[in-house]
């Protein structure tokens, strides 16, 4: 068995060295294809990640109608607290709102001079339970809140939620359409290269068939070659993506870097990386099967 494996590896290596140029081209093309695919994966991954972080902080603000008597506030609070999906809530009185605005404006707080706290609406800041912090579930809570007559307006950044969801969907869709196209391209190119390798070994294969070598014995080195091409291609793609991810970040202007520092720009998780490598190998393997079906018939 050890002998068999050694022999297979030796033959594979010799085949690849004998056909070095087209092997390198193939690996390069696989790497580029996989790089395009994994770039989209990375973008979608980060955007999803960012979206999730942001969703996590999502809260609903319900503004009370002006002139709602403070005697009703207590009842309103307990009513809201009982709603499905509500975790905690905080009452923000017009005075609190005023303080908050003063704090935010800092040195420019003189802008607020002459404004009476009473003109600001009171509001409820509602924190949702974890499983309600997403674009579909949040709408259920909002619908409930809208039924309460004391609320004037409900805000939760709806435009953002929708734009983000659409963007992520488009990215994911592009990722998979591209993925599909590149998949075909990779199978095509590996099978093409392997046909070259196989035809450069035609004489030897013929003699092997002459001597009664089993089809598996003849084919395995070509399968291994496909696997190696896929693995190296996938590996290079990940390496480039990593460099791109690093380089891009450090070459950005400092202002954007500072802004980005607040949002983590992550690299692909280990699991995805392994999947990309595996994917490359599977595609390479597939390419070699296509090739050997076409040109490795026993004669």
């Amino acid at each position: 068995m050890i002998f068999f494996l050694q022999d297979m590896m030796r033959r594979t290596f010799r085949n690849m060295m004998g056909n070095l140029f087209s092997n390198l081209i193939t690996i390069g093309i696989i790497a580029i294809s996989m790089l395009i695919f994994s770039t989209f994966t990375l973008l979608a991954y980060n955007l999803t990640n960012f979206f999730n972080l942001w969703e996590d902080k999502i809260e609903v603000i319900a503004y009370l109608k002006r002139g709602t008597p403070s005697s009703e506030v207590e009842a309103l609070l307990s009513k809201t607290r009982l709603l499905e999906g509500v975790e905690t809530l905080r009452y923000v009185s017009p005075y609190d709102a005023m303080d908050f605005m003063e704090m935010k404006l800092g040195r420019q707080k003189n802008l607020l001079e002459g404004i009476q706290p009473a003109v600001l609406p009171a509001s409820l800041e509602i924190q949702l339970k974890k499983e309600y912090r997403n674009s579909t579930k949040i709408k259920e809570v909002v619908a409930q809140l809208k039924k309460i007559p004391q609320f004037e307006e409900i805000q939760y950044g709806q435009e953002w939620v929708e734009t983000f969801s659409v963007l992520i969907h488009i990215l994911r869709l592009t990722q998979w359409i591209l993925g599909g196209l590149l998949l075909i391209a990779i199978v095509f190119i590996t099978s093409h290269t392997l046909q070259l390798t196989i035809s450069s070994r035609r004489e030897e294969i013929e003699v092997m068939q002459w001597m009664g070598a089993s089809p598996a014995f003849i084919r395995v080195p070509f399968y291994v070659e496909g696997l190696i091409q896929g693995l190296l291609g996938g590996g290079l793609a990940i390496l480039f993506l990593f460099l791109l991810h690093q380089g891009l970040f450090f070459n950005l202007p400092p202002s954007i870097q500072a802004w980005l520092a607040k949002i983590p720009v992550l690299f692909l998780p280990a699991k995805t990386t392994v999947w990309i490598l595996l994917g490359g190998m599977i595609l390479g393997f597939f390419g070699s099967i296509v090739a050997s079906m076409r040109v490795l018939q026993y004669k």
Partner: protein, 233 residues
């Protein structure tokens, strides 16, 4: 009753060029027989052998070798068939850029023999065929007769129970021809079946082995199978 090791029934072969190479060939060869396939150039000897080792499909007819129905559509075990035989083809089929020894060990390695064993066996057979001094020369540098001996050595290295040899002495001088014949006789005496295609009637006359005459793709009468001489099993 002894089961034939080779059976051909009403075999026809017409090449795409409309040349009819075999027509209605029916024959049986029994285990342990030494059989000459004799006929002039172009009579269809090589075609017949190629059909036996499955390198060519007959246009019609049935062929059974080693109990395998090799003409049946979907027959997939060509490699098992070939592992059970040694083949010397008219064009040698050697790897020209490898050495003599490499060519022989290659044959053993691809059927799963460890390299050391292969090397040792190769040297032994090369000595028999007077090639021990050329063992590390590449095939390119050998004469046609030397190449032919390498091809014979390669076919014999597995001690095959069935040897199909297509004009194996065609390029050899008288002395070497005798040497090869001695080796084949030895193999035959150990129980192997040998099918030997040749156009040299002089060679055939020296031996009392069975002869199947072929002319224009048709079998003529020859020395019939001598069932007394056939080895059992």
């Amino acid at each position: 009753m002894i089961e034939a090791i080779i059976q051909m029934q009403h075999v026809f072969k017409t090449y795409p060029s409309q040349i009819s190479a075999l027509s209605d060939v029916t024959l049986e060869i029994f285990p342990g027989e030494f059989t000459f396939i004799a006929g002039p150039s172009g009579s269809g000897k090589s075609t017949l052998l190629r059909i036996l080792y499955c390198s060519e499909k007959p246009t019609s007819g049935e062929v059974i070798v080693h109990g395998m129905h090799i003409t049946q559509p979907g027959f997939k075990k060509i490699y098992q068939l070939r592992q059970a035989m040694g083949i010397v083809s008219q064009d040698f089929k050697l790897l020209k850029d490898r050495t003599v020894t490499e060519n022989i060990t290659f044959a053993l390695e691809v059927t799963g023999h460890p390299r050391e064993e292969a090397k040792w066996k190769a040297l032994e057979i090369l000595r028999h065929l007077g090639l021990e001094e050329r063992e590390s020369d590449s095939i390119f540098s050998l004469s046609a007769g030397e190449q032919q001996r390498v091809a014979i050595a390669r076919a014999l290295v597995n001690s095959p129970s069935l040897l199909l040899a297509d004009e194996p002495t065609g390029n050899l001088d008288a002395k070497m021809t005798l040497r090869v014949m001695d080796i084949l006789t030895d193999l035959h005496q150990k129980g192997s079946t040998i099918v030997f295609a040749t156009q040299f009637t002089g060679l055939i006359k020296r031996y009392s082995y069975r002869v199947i005459q072929i002319l224009n793709g048709q079998i003529l009468d020859g020395r019939k199978a001598d069932t007394n001489k056939i080895h059992q099993g």
